[in-house]
Structure formats: C-alpha cells, structure tokens
C-alpha cells in the first residue's frame, strides 16, 4: 500500500523546526516517523503523520513549501539480517531507493521502515511477492 509522507522545504535556520512542530502540535497532529535530509544551505523535512492532508494544508497556509509524497511503509521483522534481505531484493530487481528512515511504529516483533523508491509500483509488487507486508497507514 502507498502511504503519504509530508515533505517540507526548510532553510537551515535556528528555530525553524520548532515552527513546524509547534504548528502540528497545536492542530493535534500525531507524528509517526520523521527524518531530515540536510545540505549546507537547506534541508528537507520528511515525516509521516496521522492526518497528512490536513498537515500539508496547515503548513502551506503558514507559508511553507510542502507536499505529500508517495512512500512505502514496510514491516521488517525485528532481528538481524531482515533489512539486508529486503535491500538484496531491491538490488536484484533493480529498483532504486532514494531514501529510507525508520518509524516509531513497532508492532509486536516488527519494525516499520519508510522507503522512497524510484518506481513505487514495482517496489510494492516485489515486496508483496516475497511476503513482506506493507502498512496501509499509520
């Protein structure tokens, strides 16, 4: 299943992250996964929340450049070698991963990894074929 990530453009300035989290906190939006990609001048904040559409609307109203991005949330058994197995699959099938990060989600003995791939349909089909489940939402 495809899930919606919120992507936000941010300049590297002190307190900017606080502005975003404060905005979302006041709207009662719950974050399930978060990661920042940073360069010298700017960063891209990526997160998965329980109300992505509402979060993007709020952020845009507050003047941010933000959008929803399609990503995959894959459940990975919580023991050594599992992530390696998934990565090997991607390599074998030639689907490239643009970035990934771990979520706060933890179901029984499974962790949820958020993946952005260049061909999301191919990525999903491949994961399902090999018995990995992807989550419909957080």
């Amino acid at each position: 299943m495809i899930i919606k990530q919120i992507s936000i453009f941010m300049e590297n300035t002190t307190g900017r992250l606080a502005d975003v989290t404060d905005l979302l906190a006041r709207a009662g939006i719950n974050l399930r996964a978060i990661s920042i990609a940073d360069t010298t001048d700017f960063g891209i904040l990526r997160m998965v929340a329980d109300q992505p559409e509402e979060a993007v609307r709020l952020l845009r109203n507050a003047g941010f450049t933000a959008r929803e991005t399609d990503v995959i949330g894959v459940e990975v058994p919580d023991h050594p070698g599992e992530l390696a197995r998934i990565m090997a699959l991607f390599r074998a099938e030639g689907v490239s991963i643009e970035y990934l990060y771990a979520s706060l989600e933890h179901k029984e003995d499974k962790a949820v990894i958020v993946l952005k791939v260049d061909d999301i349909k191919a990525g999903l089909a491949m994961l399902e074929k090999h018995g990995f489940s992807t989550i419909p939402s957080f």
Binding site: S7, F9, M10, E11, T39, F42, I44, T65, T69, Y99
Partner: protein
C-alpha cells in the same frame, strides 16, 4: 614627486584650451570624413566640422553611446586604414557585443604617454619595478599598464592576473616597488601573504595603482595599512583608450583627467544639458587625438563631478571626484560587468525560479566580490529528494557561469523569505561599501 610631462600637465588654461580646440576640430573633421556612422549622425544634427568654432560648440555634437559602439562592431567606427592598426583590444562583451578599441602607432604612443603620467603620479620612475597584476590579453588593463611602464622606462613583471602564490613569490624575489591590479585583488594578496607569514613591511613595495572596479575610501585605508603602501585610484574605459583617462596624484583628492587627450563634460543624464563644474551628473568624454577609434561625446554612465580648484601637486588639469554611482544598474563583480536583467534572463529559462529571486553582492573574508543568488523554492521546483534540488542549484550556477562568466553561490530559500516592498521583491542588495 616628479611630474612626467610638466608642459602638458601644468599648462595654463589658455594654452590647454587652444590645444583642445585644435584637436577637437581635427577629430570632428576626421570622423566626418572617414566614418559614415558619424557623418550620418552629424548630418542628422545639422552639424559639420565647421560648426566647431569654440570649445563650447562641442554641445552641438550628438552623444555616442555604448549601444552605438556595439552596433558598429567590429570595424564600423574605424577612422584609419586597417593597415595602420598595430593593436586591438575589446571589452569582455559580458553585457552584449564587445566594444572594440583599435590603435594606430600614434594611439599606442599616446596610450604609453598617459599611462606614464599615471604611473609617475604614483611615484614610479626609471629604476622602479612594476608588478603588473592586471590581465594581459584583450582586456585593456594589462597592456595599458605595460605600455605606460615601457614609455616611462620602468622594469615590468608582466605576471598578469591570478596565480596568487606566484604573485607573492615575485614580490619576494624581485622586490617590485609598484603593484598594479584591481583593488579587491590587492586585499586578497594581503590576506594570502598573511597566511604565508609574509610581512609587507619588509618588502620594497611603496605604491599601487588600482582600478577596473569601483572602490571606496574605506578600502583605500585598508589597502594602505595592510600592504603598507600608498594606494592610487585610476580610471579608464575601453571606449576611450583603456586605463589612462584619469588618475590620482599624490594628493589623492580626485583623478586628474588627461585633458589634452580627453575632453570631459558633465551632463544632466535626463536632458543632456551640460552642467557647470562642481555639479553632479554623468561624465561624457570626447577623445581629442585618437586615430583608430576616436569617439565623440561618449556617455560613460558614470556619475561624478569636476573639481577645477588648483591641486597642490602643481598639475593644472581638472579632476573628477571618486565615482558616485551609475546612471544605469550596471554591476561590476570581480571586474566583470553585468546587468541584473542578464541574471534574470538566465533564471527565466529555468522553469519555476521566477519571479522571486534576489541578488546579494558582498565582499567576504577573501575581500573578493561574492555574489549570491537567492531563489525561493516554490511548489514548481520543490522536490523531496535533495539531489534534485542540488541539481537545480548546479544548473543555475553553470548557466550563469557560461553566460556571464561569474561564479555565483546559489542559495535556495523558503517562499516569502525575500523582502518585498509594495509586493515587489527587492532584486539587488549590494553590501559592498563602494
């Protein structure tokens, strides 16, 4: 300090004006007879060479603009036979078609003469060694200094621009007494020398002639203290000859115009009306003895005023005050001329970067001009993948570099972070104190 050509530089007003009128008449005759472009212009204005009976009559002549010089590229304004030419220079052409300066043997001799005066003003004489850090090539800076030093009989280190380490090496090994380069590069050299543990106070360097870009009194103080020299401002334009149009003497209070070769006027840029000495306006210059590329009433776009009061150095030639600005929005970045509209044109080709951008020019720790272009990241160019945004930055950088020859830092900023006044973004912030 010695004066290179006392007869010319200290002439009485009467002698000078008589000479200027003779030369002006000859110049008008020459262009009327030899350059169809000027003949047409003069005819349209109802003027013939006979119309010039006194210096004031110069106001009857039409102006020449940079645009005129471009339209006639390459040989349209040539006022001599091609086989009389001995050297050609051009402007860099960053703001459009290059402007051509064509020199006959006499032109080159005159250039040497005015540059010898310039170098003398900075205390240079036979026996001195000049480290010439202006670019050699089509640019007039390098060879202009070179011809002047030859005429004066000084020793020349023709190192050209850049290659900082080697510049410092030359300074240590050959002990030049005069440095010629852009003012910002002199500070860059000072910084590099400091890092190498080199002390300028131990060098025989005593003065520098700096030009080709605008600079301030504050910068003079900085250069003089960091390089332990006297720093002199020099002025020139490819359109007239290159460096050597006007230069500072030891009084460092305005630049003496070589009036026997260049006739200056200050005009109201809006109406074209000639203004009195001391009044601020656009500097207009007529060459009085060029053979290859004479120019009539060239509009420099530089704003200044004329200082006619006697100068303590003994020269009687009029001085122009340090430049006060431009009548257009030309920016000079590391000696490269460019207009904001050219940057805009490049951005326009890259989808989504318009309309919110800002150009910030500053002199950083290196003392060299640094240009930053801020582009607001709107939906159209935003990506959740950093490499996509980095590619965009690189594309803007590379296109500006290939188009304008300037290397800008491209900074992606959040939407609405560029200050707007009445809804319009403030396009240029020049933080250099020029």
């Amino acid at each position: 300090m010695p004066i290179w050509n006392k007869e010319a530089e200290c002439a009485t007003t009467e002698t000078l004006q008589k000479l200027q009128l003779e030369r002006l008449q000859k110049t008008v005759e020459r262009v009327y007879a030899r350059v169809p472009f000027y003949r047409k212009k003069l005819d349209a204005a109802g003027v013939t060479p006979d119309s010039i009976t006194c210096l004031k009559d110069i106001a009857k002549l039409p102006f020449t603009t940079k645009g005129d010089l471009r339209e006639t590229y390459p040989y349209g304004l040539l006022a001599c036979e091609q086989n009389e030419l001995v050297e050609i220079h051009t402007s860099s052409g960053t703001t459009g078609t290059p402007v051509v300066a064509a020199y006959t043997e006499n032109d080159l001799a005159m250039w040497g003469e005015v540059m010898a005066r310039t170098l003398s003003m900075a205390g240079c004489e036979k026996g001195d060694t000049v480290q010439n850090g202006y670019g050699y090539g089509m640019f007039t800076g390098g060879l202009g200094i070179h011809h002047g030093a030859r005429c004066l009989g000084a020793n020349i280190l023709p190192i050209s621009s850049g290659n900082t380490r080697r510049q410092l090496q030359m300074m240590r090994d050959f002990g030049p007494t005069l440095l010629t380069c852009t003012p910002s590069y002199s500070l860059f050299l000072a910084e590099a020398a400091r890092e190498e543990g080199m002390d300028f106070r131990e060098l025989p360097l005593k003065a520098g002639c700096f030009g080709a870009e605008p600079w301030s009194e504050n910068m003079r103080v900085e250069i003089e203290s960091k390089l332990d020299i006297k720093a002199y401002d020099i002025y020139g334009l490819t359109e007239l000859i290159g460096p050597g149009v006007a230069s500072e003497c030891e009084c460092q209070n305005g630049k003496h115009i070589n009036e026997d070769y260049f006739y200056p006027e200050i005009i109201n840029p809006e109406t074209g009306e000639v203004l009195a000495d001391g009044e601020k306006g656009e500097l207009v210059i007529t060459s009085l003895q060029r053979e290859g590329s004479p120019v009539i009433r060239f509009r420099t776009r530089d704003i200044t005023y004329m200082m006619r009061e006697p100068c303590a150095c003994g020269r009687t030639t009029v001085r122009i005050h340090r430049l006060l600005g431009r009548t257009d929005d030309l920016m000079i970045i590391r000696g490269v001329n460019c207009f904001p509209s050219q940057i805009e044109n490049v951005l326009m080709r890259i989808e989504g970067t318009q309309p919110h951008y800002q150009i910030v020019i500053d002199r950083g720790a290196t003392h060299l001009d640094e240009i930053e272009i801020r582009v607001e990241v709107e939906d159209a160019i935003f990506s959740d993948v950093t490499s996509t945004l980095e590619r965009l930055r690189k594309r803007i950088h590379d296109e500006l570099k290939s188009e304008l020859g300037i290397s800008a830092h491209i900074k992606l900023v959040e939407p609405r972070s560029i200050q707007r006044s009445e809804g319009k973004a403030q396009r240029i912030i020049d933080k250099r104190s020029l």
